[in-house]
């Protein structure tokens, strides 16, 4: 693994190119003031004093229940906390397997991996202090990792990002080694996530289980207070001078204060922005975003989310979906472009595989598979023995009608998607029965296998997330697939450190998943952010959900 120093001029051009290429939506929404216009200046530009000051109200959707990044799992918690914590390394937004590198230095100046892939050694910055004055060093890293893996912590996400973590070793004051029990290529991706952000050991020890309300990191903003369902406040860390090269400028952030507020009602989010109750708003409904695009007081900033698309998982154990031809027919009979346009207003793209197009290792060839074709779908169904002999519009075989059961959940416009799917499948003689359940109830039904179709949409920035959802006998393997070739590919992808080789393995895995027709991908999720035209410098990290607020400033009116 390469040692990472300050970014060279060439790397910066590359970075610029990547940023520009992954945010194509930005070009389309001129005149747009919030677009992250990048100037190709080498390393980081000097802080512009005239931009300093001001307060930003940032609208979130849900109040996270539990915001300890080491314990809780929600994406919502990462939106504010990305500004409170630094991570050892950072993932470059939009980096692809063919780029020279995918990560830049954070709290670790450089790192390397042992030849057996079992030990990662990090050399840490020496100039970093936590917001409470505690020095950042190897002991601090050890305290953080040991807290996360302690079973009493009941970590819901961070511990899983560490994979087969075995132990942490302090080599000297600024060198720390992590030992694994098996090679684990996604480790670096995990270390670049806020869930593995470095917290002050002093504060962790002092507050224990109540740490979530007294968080102390090393990031550009300090945690002031969190009142659930009401607000979460951060103020600038004036000592901050160790930002990663992802940030546009060096030194402290611009804003004096950021207040995060929660807007659970999607219908009211655009209004809150228009009434001036918030300067930035996440997750606008697509049609509100389209309306605000026409208003030059606001800018729309769509961010494509890496991970899995909104997709319908097909239960391969339950007849008639145990027949691959029927599953393939369903894929062919689903007009994803129409669904995406009708429900998501063209703000996001149709999905073609088990990973979204901005996910590391996405295979673009998948877009050519299963083009919408009712004729081909009908032919496959007929070949599988399903035909509509009695003319009632629903095919049958041996007297059994072709009726499929879908479990729905209320998130992600799933009920609307299901309605369109239902009408499209009816045209090829497949009937769809739906039942809407709460999330825990749907999870139970999924475990028990009482469905033909169930929606799914878990985000993540490393393709290894396929492991949990497609590997044999894993609890969230909702297609119930058990395929040794697929298992082998997913195992190898997990154990192979080389990014290009990994990408090749995951390309094969994605092709196989679609060959087996384990899911019907519907659309690639997009986080539709909107901001007041006065808000400048907003950009997002590689995980799509998390804003980099260090560079944000508020323009004079």
């Amino acid at each position: 693994m390469s040692v990472v120093g300050p970014l060279s001029r060439r790397c910066w051009r590359l970075l610029l190119l990547i940023v520009v290429s992954v945010l194509p939506g930005l070009a389309a929404c001129a005149p747009m003031d919030v677009a992250p216009v990048r100037t190709p200046t080498p390393p980081q530009v000097i802080r512009e004093p005239s931009r300093a000051g001001g307060k930003l109200v940032y609208g979130l959707t849900l109040s996270p229940s539990g915001i300890d990044p080491h314990i809780n799992a929600s994406a919502e918690l990462g939106i504010p906390l990305t500004s409170v914590y630094d991570t050892l390394i950072y993932r470059i937004p939009g980096s692809t397997p063919n780029d020279g590198k995918q990560f830049v230095a954070g709290l670790a100046e450089s790192w390397d991996m042992s030849d057996d892939g079992l030990t990662y050694t990090f050399r840490l910055r020496r100039d970093v202090t936590f917001h409470d004055g505690t020095p950042f060093n190897a002991e601090a890293v050890r305290a953080n990792l040991e807290r996360i893996v302690n079973p009493d912590t009941q970590s819901q996400k961070a511990i899983f990002l560490l994979g087969p973590f075995a132990s942490v070793e302090v080599i000297d004051e600024y060198t720390v080694a992590m030992h694994l029990s098996a090679p684990y290529a996604p480790l670096l991706d995990g270390l670049a996530q806020v869930y593995l952000g470095m917290a002050s050991p002093t504060a962790l020890a002092r507050w224990g289980v109540d740490y979530q309300f007294h968080q102390v990191g090393t990031g550009p903003f300090k945690f002031v207070e969190y009142v659930p369902n009401d607000h979460l406040t951060l103020i600038r860390n004036d000592d901050y001078n160790w930002g990663p090269a992802l940030y546009d400028h060096a030194g402290p952030a611009y804003l004096d204060e950021i207040e995060f507020r929660f807007f659970a009602d999607p219908a009211g989010r655009a209004f809150a922005l228009e009434a001036g109750d918030a300067g930035v708003m996440g997750e606008l409904p697509p049609f509100d975003a389209a309306r605000l695009r026409q208003d030059d007081r606001f800018g729309i900033m769509p961010v494509a989310i890496p991970g899995q698309p909104l997709g319908l998982m097909l239960n391969t154990r339950r007849p008639p979906l145990d027949d691959g031809r029927v599953r393939q027919a369903l894929l062919l009979a689903t007009d994803r472009a129409t669904i995406t346009q009708a429900i998501f207003g063209g703000e996001s793209s149709p999905a073609y595989g088990p990973l979204t197009a901005v996910t590391f290792g996405y295979d673009p060839l998948l877009a050519q598979r299963y083009p919408y074709s009712r004729d081909e779908a009908a032919a496959l169904l007929k070949e599988a023995g399903w035909s509509d002999a009695d003319g009632d519009g629903v095919r049958e075989r041996d007297g059994q009608p072709l009726i499929l059961d879908a479990i729905l959940m209320t998130w992600g416009s799933v009920p609307e998607v299901a309605q369109l799917v239902q009408s499209q499948w009816a045209q090829v003689g497949v009937a769809l029965r739906t039942e809407t359940l709460t999330y825990p109830a749907a999870l139970q039904a999924a475990r028990e296998g009482n469905y033909h179709i169930i929606p799914q949409n878990f985000s993540g920035s490393d393709p290894d997330l396929l492991w949990a959802y497609y590997y044999s006998n894993q609890p969230f393997n909702w297609s119930k697939v058990s395929d040794t070739t697929l298992d082998n590919l997913l195992d190898k992808g997990r154990n192979t450190p080389d990014p290009a080789q990994r990408a090749e393995l995951y390309a094969q895995a994605q092709q196989l998943i679609m060959e087996l027709a384990l899911l019907i991908p519907i659309r690639d999720p997009v986080n539709l952010n909107a901001a007041s035209a006065r808000v400048a410098g907003l950009h997002f990290d590689a995980h799509g959900w998390f804003p980099l607020l260090h560079d944000v400033y508020v323009r004079e009116q």
Binding site: S65, Q212, N229, A264, L437, Q474
Partner: protein, 306 residues
């Protein structure tokens, strides 16, 4: 009187025990495993899910869980949220003031609006103003808060810029939520006040009062209204409880903190300790309100004291 109050309080305790037990059982009967919901997005293994389930105490037999829950509740310990790991009591105490503020303001709007509209309609029974008032009452009950709330936000915040659209703070933040929710509560009160006032106005003693030549304001205000209001007291008590529950949607529309949002999220995610705690609290508030309503009626209506 004292014996009556003591008897009522003992009954209230029994009610609370019943509510706590039913809430516990219903929640556990609902499908879904909170441990699974906590870990689904992380792709945990079955063993890891089982470990969290044990740590949350969900692996024990139901009876053991029930006994533990009752004992802890008696000691005043409502447990910790499965998801936030924060004490339930603290979580409720944090969210309750905002909900009480909204419910109280909405109740004030409902009572003021309901009484005045009801009286107005009764005095002008059959006239266009009566029909208009009753139309407003029906509208108030039937228009959903998520629509009327957004409409008000659009008019008064986005277009006129008079009031803040969302959040809490000064009285300005309370105007629209209280109006929207209060309108819902005002409808039934107005209808009942109108009906009972009409009945009372036809009784002999009112005819006598009028025959004596008393001014209409005294006939209605002092003589008629006193009797007409009694059925409304019970209704206002019920409305208070209803408004407390009705804050859910209002809180979401106006992005206010509060118990409503807390409990909805908790039900959807099966955060059992939170739901149990809030249900118990709401039941306790209901019981207290009911008791107060009965005591007020007792004070106002001498016939009940016999």
């Amino acid at each position: 009187m004292i014996i009556y109050v003591i008897r009522r309080m003992l009954a209230a305790l029994a009610v609370l025990w019943g509510v706590a037990s039913v809430a516990f059982l219903l929640l556990h009967v609902l499908p879904g495993d909170p441990a699974e919901a906590i870990l689904a997005g992380s792709g945990a293994s079955s063993a890891e899910i089982a470990q969290i389930r044990r740590q949350l105490g969900l692996a024990d037999p139901l009876l053991v869980q029930y006994g533990r829950y009752l004992l802890n509740t008696l000691e005043g310990d409502l447990g910790r949220s499965f998801f936030s790991n924060r004490p339930v009591m603290l979580t409720i105490v944090e969210q309750l003031p905002s909900t009480l503020e909204l419910a109280t303001a909405a109740l004030a709007v409902a009572v003021a609006l309901g009484l005045s509209l009801g009286i107005l309609a009764a005095l002008r029974a059959g006239a266009w103003i009566d029909r208009a008032v009753m139309g407003v009452a029906v509208l108030g009950v039937s228009v959903p808060v998520f629509w009327s709330g957004l409409l008000l936000i659009w008019i008064f915040s986005v277009s006129l810029n008079w009031l803040p659209a969302t959040g809490t703070g000064g009285w300005q933040h309370l105007v629209m939520p209280a109006a929207v929710l209060g309108l819902v509560g005002a409808g039934p009160i107005a209808r009942l006040v109108r009906a009972s006032l009409l009945t009372v106005l036809r009784t002999d003693y009112i005819i006598l009062a009028r025959a004596k030549g008393l001014p209409e304001a005294i006939v209605v205000g002092r003589h008629a209204l006193r009797n007409a209001i009694i059925p409304s007291i019970a209704l206002i008590g019920l409305q208070a409880g209803f408004l407390l529950g009705g804050t859910v949607v209002t809180e979401v529309v106006f992005a206010r903190p509060g118990l409503g949002r807390l409990v909805i999220d908790a039900i959807l995610w099966k955060d059992l300790p939170i739901v149990q705690g809030v249900v118990l609290l709401i039941a306790a508030i209901y019981v207290v309100i009911n008791l107060s309503v009965d005591l007020v009626s007792l004070a106002l209506d001498p016939r009940l004291r016999q």
